[in-house]
Symmetry: C2
DNA sequence: CTGCATGCAAACCGTTTGCATCCCC
DNA sequence: GGGGATGCAAACGGTTTGCATGCAG
């Protein structure tokens, strides 16, 4: 997770990093692409994918492999957990103290070299919940 | 999670269910397809996808939305956790007592209606670990 | 007879990759 | 001038879907 090797901070990479740090959501690669494109209209989608991947490998950002078909990215790299709306797919942080000791338990009860864990809650977000209620009362 | 509506148990569905129950791994849709095809050579991949989805909606099986690009399916539907090999993608069960109370905590600290959670460990499985060591000592 | 289920193939979507060009060192 | 980075477009892998046919109730 620590930097493997210093990577050159090209304008594209810098903008990707800045835009990612700017939001508290956990955008997909495509959403990052849209954000970045406003500042660098000629950037290619491939470049965004390549650099997100690269920066995740370097520990500069976090690649969230959550449920749903798309990967999401996070500028906050310390251990924290997420909740995903099963309705709209939105992903939010969950304020829950990290439980790094779980890794030890998992290590004891398996023949894996455990490197980490992630907890993903699922639920209905406030927005989708309201929409549902409206649909029912109609 | 409880059965929404009884679904008809066609031969295809029965075979899918049986084959899924037979293995302790967590096969992808394609792996299920391969298993089922040995008994029903003319079954279509679309049918497998449609029925896995349907049976998951009915709570008859579990759809695992773990990291990696593919969904996996599990005949064991009670709450339990998993570990995924970051090297080969294999998914195993982790013997760790379920912590259903986490849902309450998440509920308290968010504006979601929490419906559940899943813990996914990541690590290197025994097979991949050995392969790595061999590669180094060579 | 009607409707759901199937097999098949084409479409789809997110992601990756090959390649020619560009730019920094 | 050389090696990595980029833009672009084509390829890819997993999944979904439309449609004609089949079969159970």
């Amino acid at each position: 997770m620590q930097p493997q090797s210093e990577i050159r901070l090209t304008p594209q990479r810098q903008v990707i990093l800045e835009e990612l740090a700017k939001v508290k959501t956990h955008p997909t690669a495509n959403e990052v692409y849209d954000m970045v494109r406003k500042r660098l209209p000629r950037i290619g989608l491939g470049t965004v994918y390549r650099n997100l991947e690269l920066m995740a490998d370097n520990g500069m950002i976090l690649k969230l492999e959550v449920g749903g078909s798309q990967k999401r990215f996070d500028a906050i790299t310390n251990l924290h957990y997420h909740i995903r709306c099963t309705c709209c797919g939105k992903v939010d942080d969950i304020e829950l103290t990290a439980m790094p000791h779980l890794d030890q338990l998992a290590s004891d009860s398996s023949d894996y070299q455990v490197v980490g864990h992630h907890i993903e809650f699922s639920g209905i977000c406030a927005t989708c919940g309201e929409a549902q209620e409206k649909a029912i009362t109609n």
